[in-house]
Amino acid sequence: MSDDAKKVLIEGRAAALRIENLDTDQIMPKQFLRGIDKSGLREGLLYDLRFDAQGRARPECVLNRPGYEGVSILIGGSNFGCGSSREHAVWGLQQFGIRAVVAPSYGEIFYSNAMNNRLLLVTLSEEEIARLMADADDIAGNAVTIDVGAQRLTSRSVDAGFELLPRHRKMFLEGLDSIGLSLTYQAQIAEFARGHWARAPWLKDVAAVARERLGQPTH
């Protein structure tokens, strides 16, 4: 912990989104999923919440309120990011400038996607979240500091530790080329596959065999 490399601090101002089960369809609506790269998702973030049908900013949305420009921490309701697997939701949050989300719980696929992109997700109790939301509502008191190395979040009225699995902690603090790391197992994977297919030969090339049996695509 004394190691400086392990000291990642996220300091920023927070906004509260009091919505349970905020699904990834809402975080990044369908019309923004048509790209073949990751660009252009900032505009799409929480689009229907931020803009009306005519594209005008909705004043009731906290992210449009004066003083909330540049917030980098979102305080959310439980099951944040449930639903669709679209990683665009995570990319969009990051492109908007969000560095961390704090909520009582998260959709599972969203959680993995966030970790893979080093978007920090902090899990706190409902009671701590309620206090944190109250802090976030006050433009003069919405500063939040998250010490990832120490696994501790502090705001005006919350000072709480949080859990991170060792793998996720490592991804955050050191960066982790997950694919590169798995490729160091290449020989073991090939060896595993040989044994696996010796036991269950009907699983080898299961997609290619089906495609071949069905013949060339017809119109």
Binding site: D25, C82, R167, S182, Y185, A193, H196
Partner: protein, 472 residues
């Protein structure tokens, strides 16, 4: 003697290449399905890093989400960005030698309908896809779950995933579903009781008399929607019904392979005395046709029930979330769900776009007509489902009744193509998500079974399909 193991743990163990740490294993993936919108950035990552796809035959891609469903002979994707996603998918598949079901392939369809109907899903497999409804494959005793695009790239490059092992949940359903009550109603009732995150962190194994009685297609529906309770997978131990389905759809499992496969599949069940972290019990006889009233799949009631009274909900997030949902769906607390007028009906999706679903809807529709002011469409789950329905004359039943009979795809389930609802339109839908804006900005979705959606189409209101006399 070894400690008893759950079916789920057996699947994880039989696919573990290496243990990475206390929580994670390197998990071998037998089949990786891809679509056009969650894979492009993964392929781009491979090109950028100069990485290959070592096992292309364990991967398959389908154009499904963006595809137009207009009944034209050759389908043309009008939106330039979406067209690029499709052509890009073909380019990527060609480059890496990955099998593809392209836009105008007669067998094209939704990934979760296409894969099992062509025998690509077999008991004991690990199947992943950049799509949350990959839990569908539990119906055949395969562990399926959704992944994000970074993980799509990981699988392409290594045919494995760094996988955090889930916890075990078992849901036992005793008794039999009554006539007119389907797997869709059962899964909605389960989600309604355990909640939209009731299975978060768990792989759910279903068992019990009611599950055994379900057809394989009904089991697809059940396992498909288990993700809406937040689960990381759904499983049903493969029985004779599941094995017959697989053998019928996978003719390459022949002779000696078949003997070995049948022997191996016998082991695919939780051992006697297996310990589950959580167990739930339901009675199928308590389940009536279900209809969602809110904007989360757990905001659901039986057809003879009412939208909840806010005062009866626990104060706090549950109540505020219900309030928000009622504002969006424009339903007052305490309103009877039955009789609610609808303007649109959608029958299709990976949840309910298979032949049995279309038969159930057609049985209600036959001899009737879509109510005035209602637009109703049927989008078969795949080209094969469409052809089978046409061979049975179901297309005529729907068209004669005033339905649109369209080409296969995801369509209005998530409205990523041009099938989008307008603000305020209320839709009886056989899909899986009633989220805000899912079928179009401001559009209101009521999830229900195919028979219930068909009944809504012909009456113009949310209706108990059991009250309509069914003409076979």
């Amino acid at each position: 003697m070894n400690a008893p193991k759950t079916f789920y743990r057996k699947l994880v163990d039989s696919h573990t290449v290496a243990r990475l740490d206390d929580e994670n294993v390197l998990l071998f993936c037998d089949l990786h399905l891809m679509n056009e919108y969650t894979s492009p950035q993964a392929f781009a990552g491979l090109y950028e890093q100069g990485r290959g796809v070592p096992m292309p035959g364990q991967n398959v891609a389908v154009v499904s989400h963006i595809i137009p469903t207009h009944p034209t002979a050759i389908r043309v994707i009008a939106d330039p960005a979406s067209a690029l996603q499709a052509s890009n998918l073909k380019k990527n598949c060609d480059h890496f030698g990955i099998p593809l079901f392209d836009t105008n392939d007669a067998l094209q369809g939704i990934e979760h309908v296409v894969a099992p109907e062509h025998g690509m899903i077999r008991p004991g497999m690990v199947v992943i896809c950049g799509d949350s409804h990959t839990t569908t494959y539990g119906a055949l005793g395969a562990l399926g779950f959704g992944i994000g695009t970074t993980e799509v790239e990981h699988v392409l490059a290594t045919q494995t995933l760094a996988y955090r092992v889930a916890k075990d949940m078992r849901i036992r359903v005793d008794g039999q579903l009554a006539n007119g009550v389907t797997a869709k109603d059962l899964v909605l009732a389960i989600i309604g009781r355990i909640g939209a995150q009731g299975a978060r962190g768990y792989v759910v194994e279903f068992c019990g008399e009611a599950i055994e009685a379900l057809s394989i297609e009904a089991r697809f529906t059940l396992c498909n929607m288990t993700t809406e309770a937040g689960s990381r997978g759904a499983l049903i131990a493969p029985d004779a019904k599941a094995i017959d389905y697989v053998i019928a759809h996978a003719p390459d499992i022949a002779t000696t392979h078949r003997v070995a496969a049948l022997a191996a599949w016998k082991e695919l069940r939780s051992d006697e005395g297996s310990v589950f972290d959580v167990e739930h019990r339901f009675d199928a006889r308590d389940v009536a046709p279900q209809v969602t009233w809110g904007t989360s799949p757990d905001q659901v009631v039986a057809i003879d029930e009412r939208v909840p009274e806010l005062a009866q909900l626990a104060q706090g997030p549950m109540r505020s979330s219900a309030e928000r949902a009622m504002r969006y769906t424009r339903l007052a607390e305490g309103t009877a769900i039955e009789g609610t007028p609808i303007q649109h009906v959608f029958i299709g999706s990976c949840t309910n776009g298979r032949i049995e679903d279309l038969r159930a809807a057609a049985a209600v529709v036959r001899g009737r007509h879509v109510a005035e002011g209602v637009r109703a469409m049927v989008v078969p789950g795949s080209g094969a489902v469409k052809a089978a329905a046409e061979a049975e004359g179901l297309d005529r039943v729907f068209v004669d009744a005033g339905f649109e009979w369209r080409k296969p795809g995801c369509s209005m389930c998530l409205a990523m193509n041009d099938d989008v609802l307008a603000e305020g339109v209320r839709c009886a839908s056989t899909t899986n998500r009633n989220f805000e804006g899912r079928q179009g900005r401001g559009a209101i979705t009521h999830l229900m079974s195919p028979a219930m959606a068909a009944a809504a189409a012909v009456t113009g209101r949310i209706t108990d399909a059991r009250k309509l006399e069914t003409l076979q």
